[in-house]
Structure formats: structure tokens, C-alpha cells
């Protein structure tokens, strides 16, 4: 009976990310007992804000959590990942700045309402997603290769949109999205993530999107024979990811009120894939658990913050994360799992023999 409960807990998809979260928390608590302390301070504008490592993780993990939503759907439907998300964030962000600043690098006021700029960014993001989706769904190119095109060209296109200038948004209101709204001590990004989660929860609850993507990911042919259009579903997941990218771009650009084409959202594709993998979702497609992915995203941000705390340079972060990815995929590989299961079976038998 006891064993059954244990098995139920360990086989839950949320088990791995939760364990990783607890492990990281313990490491940090040992290193610094005051790690989880949250204090109320005032920021440059004189508004009360919450600060502390926990708030940092929640704040900076937002983009990743939003991307993880789209990436989970793409992974589930097409069995591959979109590696162009970082580059498309640069494109969408650049388009947003272009609309806001009207091609002027140092405008006095914003040239268009923020909502218009955001909508343009959404359209641009969805177009990029549609381009990837077209290559994957209609021309049947492997997702990672198809997205490699935008991965290379993306930052160049982003620089081209603004003529390689770095416009600065003059309106302080624009900085609210990636910072704090005056009077509210919680980072705005947290609310944006909550809004995204509510939207995707409603979509998954009310529509067949979740069921259809899983069906397409598990077996494309049989889902087609059952009346699902796999081409459309794959295309749709990429467009949804494009929308997520646009929201992430809003946050990223808003944090600095400007953009750096070669650095913005660098290596974020790796983190997004890692979040999906950490959530226990098969990278080869099929069943998915959205909440595990989102939790995975925050675990990744937790890891990043921890590494920074241990004085790891930002450029060297990638090496440590790569080790984590490799370990994760090794332990989730079917061959290794079978071997471990065999080993676990053999152990009690060997003990009996010895007795």
C-alpha cells in the first residue's frame, strides 16, 4: 500500500520539477539562510516595491514561463522544438520600437499608443510563427531545421527593421510592463504571466486544442484518419508560440525601454526547451502537461539566479545549463530507464541470494 502511494507520487509529472525546486531551495538555504527574505524597499521613482531573490525569480522567470506555454504546444504537436524564439523576440521587439519611436532613434514623445505597438508586435510574432509553421506543417521540414532559418536571420532582420539604431522609448509608462506600476509593489510581469496562464487554461478547458495537439503528436496518421487536420494543428501551435513570443518581447523591451539586437533574449531558446523537458514532457511529442512546463520555467530561473549567486559569469552560464540538460535527457532516455528498472529488479533478488 505504501509502495503504491510512493509510486503515484513519483510518477506524477510535477514530481521532477518540484524535486528540483526543493533541491535548489535547500542548496540556497544552506548557502545563505536569508535567501527567501522578501523586503519592501523603494525604487528610483520612489514607489514601494518588493525585493528579494524570490521576487527576482518570479519577475525574471516571466518571459520563460510565457514561452514555455507555446513551446509545450509546439513540442507536443510536432515532436520538435522552435529554436528561433530568441531571434523572433528580437524581431517583435524591434517592430514594437519602430512603431513607438516612428523610425526616430531619440523621439521626444511616443509616436503611437503602446497598445498599437503591442498589436503590431503580436502580428509580427504570429507572422514569424506562421513562417515556421508553414515550413514544418506544409513542407514537412524537421522543426529544428526549419526554425534554424529564423534563428540565423532573426537578429539581422531585427537590426534591419530599425536601421541598426537603438531607439529609446521616452514614455515612462512603457517601462511599467517590465517593471512596477506605481503603487503596486508586485512586479507587473507576475500579473502578465497570471493573465497568460488564465487564458491558456480557459483555451485548454473550452476547446479541443489540448486533445488535438496530443493526438497529432502521438500519431499523425491515425489522428488524420479520425478527422483531425494535423497540418492545421501544427501550424496553429507555431502561431500560438508566435503570440507568446510577442508578449515575452513586450516584457523584454520594456525592461530596458530599448533593445540590443545581439544580446536580447540570448540563449532563451535553450531555457525554454529545458523548461519543457524539466516538466517531464517528452521532447519527441505526444502527451504534455502545461503546468509542469510553467513550473519548469521557474525552476530554470531559480537555477540561473542560484548560479549568479555563486558568482558564475553570465557567458559561462550556458555551460552549466548544458550539463543539466544532458543529465536530464540521459535520465529520461528510454534505454537508460529500462536499464535502471532492470537494475532495481535485480537488487532485491541479489540480496535474497546473498541471504
Amino acid at each position: 500500500m505504501n509502495k503504491q502511494i510512493l509510486k503515484k507520487i513519483t510518477s506524477n509529472q510535477l514530481f521532477i520539477p518540484l524535486m528540483a525546486l526543493i533541491l535548489l531551495a535547500v542548496i540556497n538555504l544552506i548557502n545563505d539562510p536569508g535567501f527567501f527574505k522578501v523586503t519592501v524597499g523603494t525604487n528610483n521613482a520612489g514607489n514601494p516595491v518588493l525585493s528579494g531573490y524570490l521576487i527576482t525569480i518570479l519577475d525574471y522567470g516571466s518571459e520563460l514561463a510565457i514561452l514555455a506555454i507555446g513551446m509545450t504546444l509546439v513540442t507536443a504537436a510536432s515532436g520538435g522544438q522552435d529554436i528561433s524564439v530568441g531571434a523572433t523576440i528580437a524581431i517583435a521587439g524591434s517592430a514594437m520600437l519602430r512603431v513607438l519611436c516612428g523610425g526616430n532613434s531619440r523621439p521626444e514623445t511616443i509616436q503611437a499608443p503602446i497598445i498599437v505597438a503591442f498589436l503590431v508586435a503580436c502580428i509580427v510574432g504570429m507572422l514569424c510563427g506562421a513562417f515556421n509553421g508553414m515550413l514544418v506543417a506544409i513542407f514537412k521540414i524537421q522543426p529544428m531545421i526549419a526554425t534554424l532559418i529564423l534563428f540565423t536571420a532573426g537578429r539581422s532582420i531585427a537590426a534591419w527593421i530599425n536601421n541598426n539604431e537603438l531607439p529609446i522609448v521616452p514614455d515612462p509608462k512603457f517601462a511599467y510592463f517590465g517593471g512596477f506600476i506605481p503603487g503596486i509593489p508586485v512586479p507587473t510581469t507576475v500579473f502578465i504571466v497570471i493573465a497568460c496562464i488564465i487564458v491558456i487554461a480557459i483555451v485548454l478547458k473550452l476547446t479541443n486544442l489540448g486533445l488535438y495537439t496530443q493526438a497529432v503528436g502521438i500519431n499523425e496518421n491515425s489522428s488524420r484518419l479520425n478527422g483531425i487536420n494535423p497540418t492545421f494543428i501544427k501550424f496553429l501551435t507555431f502561431v500560438i508560440l508566435g503570440l507568446c513570443v510577442a508578449v515575452a518581447a513586450l516584457i523584454k523591451v520594456s525592461r530596458l525601454s530599448t533593445i540590443n539586437y545581439s544580446v536580447i533574449a540570448k540563449d532563451i531558446e535553450m531555457d525554454a526547451i529545458l523548461a519543457v523537458a524539466l516538466g517531464g514532457n517528452a521532447l519527441s511529442g505526444g502527451k504534455f502537461n502545461m503546468w509542469a512546463s510553467i513550473l519548469g520555467a521557474y525552476v530554470i530561473q531559480f537555477l540561473t539566479t542560484t548560479l549568479y549567486k555563486f558568482n558564475v559569469q553570465s557567458d559561462a552560464l550556458a555551460a552549466y545549463k548544458a550539463v543539466v540538460v544532458i543529465l536530464l535527457v540521459i535520465f529520461s532516455a528510454p534505454t537508460v530507464r529500462d536499464y535502471m528498472a532492470k537494475l532495481a529488479k535485480q537488487l532485491p533478488m541479489a540480496r535474497k541470494e546473498a541471504a
Binding site: 531545421i145 557567458d315 559561462a316 555551460a319 535527457v329
Partner: protein, 346 residues
């Protein structure tokens, strides 16, 4: 049977490899002749062609490795990172540890070999998707490069610089410069290494058992297994060869630029994949040719030079043209393959 014969066109008579190879070679010559006719200038001089070779010797080597992995049905996007890691390690070894040339070559080969062993094992024996493995490999290599040394620097070792500046004149070719002095065309050592490797790999793919196994595994894993081919070992070897070539390519790159920096060879994996695809290697595996890859690299760099000399020399045009070219060739492949499938089904 009869119906298939009726449907035979030039398309179907040629094998996949030859069809895609022919397209590439024709496009390369058209492009180069077009550049000579319409842009003139540097393109009329033979040295222009050899400069393309000099600048891209490392790319030729890594692209050959990429083609081999792609023929066996895999992919390796860690090559750019490996090139950067190799140049940084060799640079640090030569300047800070007073190392010898031979030692640095061994370091380059060692890094390549280590990468090949680990990635090959993970892909072939643990059945992990090659893309994930090499994506992690790429980030690991880039991160390690900054851990080894953060700031970029030039190597000052005199022996190494002598080797770097060694020029081999091409007999019978050259041009008269502005002062009226005849300057023979030259290539660097890396080009000789690259061309030798191209010939060697061409022969290996064509005439050895390993080469034929690579095609068989990439074409259809299941039937290769039925034929008694050791699929896992073949996959393992393909990754081993690719990473080893990335190590060699890294040294050739290092020999060309003579410095170590974390930003070296940014996006080289992309160029290598693009060259292979333009050269007629199919992403789905089983189809490809090393000679095609050589022409793929040449086409890619020629188009870059055309873009640069056409006045569009802003950095972003290079990225956009490569991506556009890759996109076009991917679509051609996709269309050619679906046409062939249709023709076979009738």
C-alpha cells in the same frame, strides 16, 4: 511496372544525389560567371577565388563532417562551438603555457575526439535526439570557451605566426597589380588540408564499407538493420567523424585568424548545415555527396562576396542572404522529394 517506365523523365532517371549535385554545381557556375560579367572588379582576378578558399577552409572541413552526420540521418549543431573552443584552448596553450605547435594540434584533435565520443555515445547508444544533444554541446562549448578565457586575444607565438603566414603559390595563376608587378595567386595551408580531407572523405563515402553503411543507415534504418549493418555503431562513428573534423576545422580556423575569442565562428554550424543542404545533402538522410558540400560552401561564400561588393555590406545582409538561400534550397528539396514520391506511387 509499365506505368513507372512511362513516367520516367530526366528527374527520375538521375539518382537523388546526382540531381541535387548537378543543381548545385550549375548554380555555382552561373553565380560566379554572373559576378565576373556584371560586377567585374575583384571577381576577374584568380586570387578572389582563392581568397574564398582561404577564408572558408575551416568551413569546408566542418561542413564535410556535417554532411556525413546528415547522410547517416543525424545532425550536429555543436561544430561552431567546438571551433571556438579549439581556437581558444590552442591560443591559451600557445601563449600562456608556452606550448608547441604539435601540442596545440593534439589539443585540437583531443577536443574533437572527446566531443565525438560523448555525443556519439549519447545519440547512438542512448537513443537521444541528436539535435538536443548537440544543442547542449553547442552551449557547453560556448560556455567553456569563456571559462577558459574571457577576453579575446591574438597569439604572439613566433613559430605559430610563421606557420599562419605561410603561403603556397598556385602555379600558372596570378595577376598584375596596380604597380605592374606580377603577383602569383596563393593559398594557405588550411586549404591544402581541407582539399585533402575532401578527397579522402569522398573516397571513404564511395568505396569503403563504412561509407556505404552511412548511406544505408540514413536511407532506412530498419532495412539497414535487416541487412545486418550495425546501425548503432555506424551512427556513433558518424558523430565521431563529424566532431573530429570540427576539431581539425577548429585548428584550421585558428590558423587563419590567429586569435582566440568566445565569439569566434558564431553561427558556423548554420553555415555548415546550409552548405551541406545547398550541396545536395538531404536532411532526411541517405542522400548526399562531399563534392556537393564543397560546392555548397563555394556557392555560399560567393553569394556573400557578391552581396558585400554590391554595397550591401551592412552586417545583417549576410545573415539574411544565407537564411534566404537555405530556405530556398530546403523548399527545392521538399518539392523534389514529394514529386518523386508521387511519380513512384502512380
Amino acid at each position: 511496372m509499365k506505368k513507372i517506365k512511362e513516367n520516367t523523365s530526366i528527374f527520375n532517371k538521375m539518382s537523388d544525389t546526382n540531381l541535387l549535385l548537378t543543381i548545385t554545381i550549375v548554380i555555382f557556375f552561373l553565380m560566379y560567371i554572373g559576378a565576373v560579367l556584371f560586377q567585374g572588379g575583384g571577381f576577374t582576378k584568380p586570387q578572389m577565388f582563392f581568397n574564398i578558399l582561404n577564408a572558408n577552409a575551416a568551413l569546408i572541413i566542418t561542413a564535410c563532417g556535417m554532411s556525413i552526420v546528415m547522410i547517416s540521418g543525424g545532425i550536429d549543431i555543436s561544430v561552431g562551438g567546438v571551433v571556438a573552443l579549439v581556437s581558444m584552448c590552442c591560443a591559451v596553450y600557445l601563449d600562456y603555457h608556452d606550448g608547441s605547435i604539435l601540442g596545440s594540434i593534439l589539443i585540437a584533435l583531443g577536443i574533437g575526439l572527446a566531443y565525438g565520443l560523448v555525443q556519439g555515445f549519447l545519440v547512438a547508444y542512448l537513443d537521444i535526439q541528436p539535435f538536443i544533444v548537440s544543442l547542449a554541446g553547442m552551449f557547453f562549448a560556448r560556455g567553456m570557451t569563456t571559462i577558459v578565457n574571457t577576453a579575446p586575444f591574438n597569439v604572439e607565438d613566433p613559430e605559430f605566426n610563421a606557420l599562419k603566414l605561410t603561403r603556397i603559390n598556385v602555379p600558372g595563376l596570378g595577376s598584375v597589380n596596380k604597380k605592374g608587378i606580377y603577383v602569383p595567386a596563393y593559398v594557405e595551408i588550411g586549404v591544402i588540408v581541407a582539399l585533402l580531407l575532401v578527397v579522402l572523405l569522398f573516397l571513404v563515402l564511395r568505396y569503403t564499407r563504412l561509407g556505404r553503411n552511412l548511406y544505408a543507415v540514413g536511407g532506412n534504418k530498419q532495412s539497414a538493420l535487416m541487412l545486418g549493418i550495425n546501425v548503432k555503431r555506424t551512427k556513433f562513428l558518424s558523430h565521431l567523424i563529424c566532431s573530429l573534423l570540427a576539431g581539425i576545422g577548429g585548428y584550421v580556423y585558428f590558423l587563419h585568424v590567429g586569435s582566440g575569442a568566445a565569439s569566434h565562428a558564431m553561427g558556423m554550424e548554420m553555415n555548415a548545415i546550409a552548405s551541406s543542404i545547398i550541396g545536395g545533402t538531404m536532411l532526411t538522410g541517405g542522400v548526399g555527396n562531399i563534392i556537393g558540400t564543397l560546392f555548397g560552401v563555394l556557392s555560399l561564400s560567393t553569394i556573400q562576396n557578391i552581396v558585400a561588393s554590391a554595397g550591401l555590406d551592412q552586417a545583417w545582409w549576410t545573415g539574411i542572404t544565407i537564411a534566404a538561400m537555405l530556405c530556398i534550397f530546403l523548399l527545392i528539396q521538399s518539392i523534389v522529394m514529394s514529386q518523386k514520391k508521387k511519380a513512384l506511387k502512380i
